[in-house]
Amino acid sequence: MANVQTKTASQAQRDLERKRRISLVIRYFILIVVGLFMVYPLVWMVGATFKNNSEIFSTMNPIPMKPTLDGYVHAMDNYGGTINIWQAMLNTYSYVIPEVILTVISSVLTAYGFGRFKFKGHDIMFTLMMAMLFLPQVVLNVPQFLFYNKIGWVGSKFYLPLIVPTAFAVETYFIFMLIQFLRNIPKELEEAAKIDGANVVQTLTKIIVPMLMPAIVSCALFKFMWASNDFLGPLLYVKTPAKYPATIFVRLSMDSESGFEWNKALAVSLISILPNILVFFAAQNQFVDGISAGGVKG
């Protein structure tokens, strides 16, 4: 009797083990198939930039059979004699980098002010600030354009409509993220610093900023990605071809009469996102941490 029982017990265990193995295989299968859908288009894109135009649309194989640099050679072409991909990328980063720096500084100041102090009107302003999380950009686009148009910033050589607002903490999401982070930093250090005679600015630069660093890095990374991918902003506010950023240039390369040169269009596209890809791989954990922090603690 006891014998039979142990037999069925081991039988059950074996069944369980088999079930577990099957479900493991299914899981990996799903992960790999979905992973292919995610990555294959990108791999195909890289391959296509090295193909000639007839090969791009004749095979699914991402590896070029007759590799050619034609796409890249043509990618260097000028557009209208005034701009090429390198100049366009230079243009992009000439406003992206100031935007990132100003966003970080203004957001940290605001988060510090709201998160660590009480003052007259604190609560009402805090509520307004949080409400801005739910104010969609779509309702602001037209009136903002009219405002910049009135003060002569549309077509500005210095990308004023793109850069200047970032000095005034307009990205509520980052303020929110930094305040969430600030809440988890104990106040003891600041109090100790205060006793040692540090003023509020010193406390900010010497204590808060170093402690906030991971969150600051996340903000900077996200702002970098968003700002360099921004399309509508430059579309509305950049009027001279010589000042076009990469996003507009990439679109031109597809829409111009030579638009059927897919290897060229894809090569231009790939070059334009190369910095973003590099930044992503260099800092992917910060991206993941940043996005999880914002989402979960919210």
Partner: protein, 298 residues
Amino acid sequence: MSKIQKTLRDNIGFFFVIPWLVGFLIFKAYPFISSFYYSFTDYDLFKGISKHTLENYINVFANKQERTALIITFKYAFMTVPLKLVSALFIAYILNFKIKGVNFFRTAYYIPSILGGSVAIAVLWRALFNDEGLIRMIFGIFGIEGPHFFTNSNWALFMICLLRVWQFGSAMVIFLAALKGVPTDLYEAAAIDGAGKWRQFFTITVPLITPVIFYNLITQLVQAFQEFNGPFIITKGGPRGSTTLMTLLIYNNAFGGTYKMGKACAQAWVLFVILVLFTMISFWSQKHWVYYSDEDGR
């Protein structure tokens, strides 16, 4: 003097939020209010305002083109958001099992989210869904004549939708962080009670992470209703207006050659009110389906 000094000291935090306050007034509040005013006028960029009217609002619903854009926007959002959230949650759930190479998969799934907003990826999408493109080749393997994505109205919208679903990675990362927070002893207890994996998923996992589902739902809805880059670059709103979302109509009215600012503002306000309504409905309904762990009882 000392009284002024005291006031200053008590309100020192205010100085840190001054940049935000200025930005709020100039770049948010003023555009917001002026847009509301313009929406009741026939404001034309060059002719100015000649009359005050309700016509803009009436037309959003009375004019067939505008009504269609509104319907397409809804169709797009209700197709994209559920597909994206379900994929994100499903993959996050699988990744949450002790899987070897989690980081590898997480990276692979996350890359599209980081790059997907760029014009470069829109160019890639045009190449992939082209009549001779990779996607139709894949259909061909199965002996099926794939749809013509750029000439078939229904498929064109679905192609844009797929671009955004492909970017489920950021929602997935947020889900994954939430799933890690579900105590494993709950699963063990359920397993002892004989609940299968699917049962566990719907009776333990989903109820415990509803706050995060809710967060993702709102952010994704807000994003979907404001989608612009995808249809603008990939299909230019076509074929026959089938991917002309409300945002494209707003752009066309304001900047696409007609400069009807009043009309564009009214359309943006309709979209804004819809978004506010959806957000309010979600907030209101969360009473019934969102479970917060710090509440007593379950």
